[in-house]
């Protein structure tokens, strides 16, 4: 059509933009060399830390579980706090197949686990994916909890919270025996993860994956252009459930043991935290998130479980407030910040102290004072009194703590304000 029209600069620019867009769409799903990095690290770790491979296998399983959640949360925008349901179904399918039917061949067992979880996911998804927000959240929680309670009801089959111990599995491909150090298992899990990852990557770059992103961004518009929203959501939910089921199956095969705690609310929350920590909707978020979470947990929880819980809570709050796109998103932001800084380096730097900053400081001091006061009040308990024995008199301690908290909070906020007011100047300048 455009051949007959005279080429104005505007249409030329339009054509160029179209070509660039086409180029982007064609190249977008090409393999980038940086993508090999996590896999190379995973292979290298086998040779660097051969005696930590049992733990390594667990990390890989959690990566797979988080990847399944990324597919529905990061791409389709389905918020669920019950994804452990499918992990558990996969885990129990493999366990019960081995125990009741004597079906101990690992790979076919895994496929069965995935199929059963996927089927249950499709049925459950068909019912619950009409809803969003709190209703959906509650339905996912209730579903996982119902499975757990039903499992407990028939603890004669499931072993209840004591679990099914001592499950035996055949050697892989009839050759490779499971060993005590988890070496065989590590390669097995890594291989399954690679296959699953390839599959998920294909999905996310396909038109189907694009439709999911569209549903996440604007569900009304997707309805308006005639996209079968419900069918697509159920499909991706079933796929995600199947992947979670496979991860659960691997969990059972790795540990040769399974209990009803796989259905725990904690487990659903944990996998969500891992995913958010890494960053959603970017495929490699689960790798970073699950690895960081598991390693931190491994070290800190041994040190002190209380400390670990405080750490994970603080991490979540900080991620939501300052790094909403997870660690990978934060890395991009920092790169962008330094890029901007390099460009804006010629502009003079200036500290700007505005009158409203005094008000902000006063409010911080108030908050810090409250925290200090509460801490002073709470430390009346014996345990903390040992630490703070230099002030035993309650009113003195209350005043001391209140003032201390106020000063510390105001100081932290002052530093924060100075830093941010600086960047504000730079942003105005650039």
């Amino acid at each position: 059509m455009s051949d007959n029209k005279p080429q104005t600069p505007a249409t030329q620019a339009g054509n160029e933009a179209r070509l660039r867009a086409m180029d982007y769409l064609v190249r977008r799903h090409y393999f980038r060399w940086a993508e090999a990095l996590p896999w190379l690290i995973a292979i290298a770790l086998f040779f660097i830390l051969p005696n930590r491979m049992t733990f390594g296998g667990q990390v890989l399983i959690m990566i797979m579980f988080a990847l399944s959640l990324d597919l529905i949360l990061g791409y389709a925008g389905i918020v669920t706090l019950g994804h452990a349901a499918f992990f558990g179904i996969g885990a129990y399918t493999v366990a019960l197949a081995s125990m009741l039917a004597g079906w101990s061949e690992p790979i076919s067992g895994l496929i069965a686990g995935g199929l059963v979880a996927g089927l249950v996911g499709a049925i459950a998804g068909w019912f619950i994916l009409r809803y969003r927000g709190l209703t959906l959240l509650m339905l996912t929680i209730a579903f996982a909890a119902m499975l757990q309670e039903s499992g407990n009801l028939r603890s004669d089959i499931t072993g209840g919270y004591d679990g099914l111990p001592g499950l035996m599995f055949d050697p892989l491909f009839g050759h490779f025996q499971y060993d005590l150090y988890g070496h065989t298992n590590y390669w097995y899990v890594l291989g399954v993860l690679a296959i699953i990852f390839y599959f998920v990557r294909r999905i996310t770059y396909s038109p189907f994956g694009q439709a999911l992103t569209g549903i996440r961004e604007n569900v009304r518009r997707m309805h308006a252009i005639g996209s079968p929203v419900h069918r697509r959501l159920v499909t991706v939910y079933a796929i995600s459930a199947a992947i979670a089921g496979i991860a659960g199956g691997l969990f059972t095969q790795t540990n040769a043991y399974v209990t009803l705690t796989v259905f725990d609310f904690d487990s659903s929350a944990k996998v969500m935290v891992m995913l958010i920590l890494g960053g959603t909707g970017r495929l490699y978020g689960p790798f970073l998130g699950a690895a960081v979470y598991m390693i931190l947990e491994d070290y800190l929880a041994k040190l002190s479980p209380t400390f670990w819980q405080l750490g994970i809570g603080l991490l979540l709050v900080l991620v939501v407030l300052f790094a909403r796109r997870g660690l990978l998103g934060l890395a991009e932001d920092i790169r962008g910040y330094f890029g901007r800084k390099a460009r804006a380096s010629s502009t003079p730097r200036r500290l700007v102290w505005k009158p409203e900053h005094w008000k902000a400081l006063a409010i911080s001091a108030l908050d810090g004072g409250i925290i200090g006061f509460v801490a002073g009040f709470a430390t009346n308990m014996k345990q903390a009194a040992l630490m703070l024995s230099f002030v035993t008199d309650l009113p003195t301690r209350a005043i001391l703590f209140t003032l201390g908290g106020a000063v510390i909070a105001a100081a932290i906020n002052a530093i924060y304000l100075l830093l941010t007011s600086r960047t504000a100047v730079e942003e105005q300048a650039s």
Binding site: G133, L134, M138, F143, E149, N152, L310, G313, V317
Partner: protein, 290 residues
Amino acid sequence: MSHFAIIAVSILFDGLAYAMFLFITSVGLSVTMGLMGFVNLAHGAFAMAGGYVVVSLTRSYGIDFVPSLLIAGVVIGLISIRFERRLYRQLYKATDLEQVLLTIGLAFMAIAAFTYFYGPIPKSVPLPDWLQGDVNLGFRSFPSYRAFLIAVGAVLIAVLWYAFEKTNVGAKIRAAVDNRRMAESVGINVDLLFTLTFALGSALAAMGGGLAIQLFGLTPSFAVLYLVLFLIVVAVGGMGSLKGTLLAALAIGIIDTAGKYAFPVAGNLFIYAITAIVLLIKPTGFFGRE
């Protein structure tokens, strides 16, 4: 009286006491969720903190149980204002997911902090004499603590109903739950209203936490242990509806008590099944709005 009737009355009585606890603790969550659509998973943490304030006041400072409850409500209500102003306010326009993450993070931090100060061992609370023992209601005697809980619940329901239905502030809250934009455009300060209801809801949760000590014992994990139950009450009753929250609390309290009596092994299966059925049929809950 026949054997069956006696069991039925006991279940009703225990269920009612349980329902009152659920109502007192969840009603604030329901109204704040209805107002701002804010998913506050740290609500259980406020209840837990309230419980520990009561424990400290009664055990370390020798204050009576009932005044301690009131002080705990006031203290936690005031502290919650700072949380709302400082943290929650930033996330009103954020997605459900971000709200869930921030508030569950706060709940984890609260659990860790309280474990550090109070330890993981369940705490109990010294009760005054008149709350110990049984109270005789003619045909049967009941534990007086549960009777007290039911009475407190009834009083609070009456007060809340009056405040919600008959006062100016209550009318504003109802208007804002119905249609926030419209309410704002006729000059209602919804932000202030929200802070107010948030503080009130947290205060009630704190009192609920204090009242629960005698029923379940108090550990730091209270913050998440009963959280799902509060959320269920809110979801089943319908966000922002006083009537709905009460009905849901009653239904869940009584059915759960009956279920645990008849089939102890089934645990919470009944609650979850009811929740799923109600939400599948009516996703906005009993009295919720679209």
